[in-house]
């Protein structure tokens, strides 16, 4: 089980790094997708190797997670398009008009 857990922790940390470090808004969404994938991998690994009886709930959970991630990516990318149309920028550091 150890290699799989190391892969998922690497994926989660790179997702977090992409979301925090890069300036482009699309890269933030890419980071979020990487983090969701890391969580999905964890679910499947613990389904296969886990303590409990092997029900099908982890697989269905991952299915719903994939679908919701796709929906959220769709809406997020549409938002980025709309912001780009109004502000001509995709730099998250420049989207600070709500800053106090």
């Amino acid at each position: 089980m150890l290699p799989y857990l190391l892969i998922s922790s690497l994926l989660f940390s790179s997702g977090l790094a992409a979301a925090l470090l890069r300036r482009n808004a699309v890269m933030v969404l890419i980071g979020i997708e990487l983090m969701l994938n890391a969580a999905n991998l964890n679910f499947i690994v613990f389904w296969k190797y886990g303590p409990g009886p092997a029900t099908l709930s982890p697989i269905l959970f991952v299915l719903f997670s994939i679908a919701i991630a796709a929906a959220e990516a769709g809406v997020g990318l549409a938002l980025i398009l709309a912001i780009h149309r109004h502000r001509q920028t995709t730099n998250v550091d420049e989207m600070d008009s709500l800053r106090g």
């Binding site: 089980m1 150890l2 980071g31």
Partner: protein
């Protein structure tokens, strides 16, 4: 660790590190797609066939393509001078590295890391379909509603509404 798992983890690691580090956004989205393929291979290795193929259809076929479209539509020409990283990069980098080290150390030092595979962890399509339609039918319907709402919302957000600039056009343009 077997040979195929080593190759798959190499693909996933290279893809995810490439997704952070590439300067050109198109290259980073394409290496994200490579990561998704590698993950699908890992799911196949773990015996979750349905999830593996759904991952390819949804993530590679829809999410990565959508991200590529948005990257192309929001380009600002050749701007090689700007840095790709945010201004304050030391603290986030430190946090992410500590997170990775912490998670890896937790996995390494745990007592569950060398458990064998569960022999009863098999998922046939028939069982999945039955579960989905009996125990999980409410999440399924809610997911349908959620996807419809997201589709309508995304279409409206991305709609090119030129009514303010062209007052004599009474038909809205269709979206991209």
């Amino acid at each position: 660790m077997n040979f195929d798992l080593a190759i798959l983890s190499l693909i996933i690691a290279a893809g995810s590190i490439g997704a952070i580090l590439f300067r050109d956004l198109v290259h980073s989205v394409l290496s994200l797609a490579v990561t998704f393929f590698g993950l699908a291979g890992v799911y196949l290795r773990l015996g979750a066939e349905f999830i593996a193929f759904s991952q390819v259809i949804v993530y590679v076929g829809a999410v990565a393509i959508l991200a590529l479209f948005v990257v192309i539509l929001t380009r600002k020409g050749e701007r090689a001078a700007e840095s790709r990283f945010s201004a304050d990069r030391l603290l986030p980098l430190a946090v992410c590295s500590m997170l990775f080290v912490g998670l890896a150390a937790a996995a390494w030092s745990s007592s569950i890391k060398s458990r064998p595979e569960l022999a009863s962890a098999t998922a046939s399509m028939r069982q999945l379909g039955r579960e989905l339609m009996s125990s999980y039918v409410v999440p399924l319907e809610v997911l349908g509603l959620l996807l419809t709402a997201c589709m309508i919302g995304a279409t409206i957000l991305a709609l090119n509404d030129d009514r303010e600039s062209n007052p004599d056009e009474d038909k809205p343009h269709s979206s991209h």
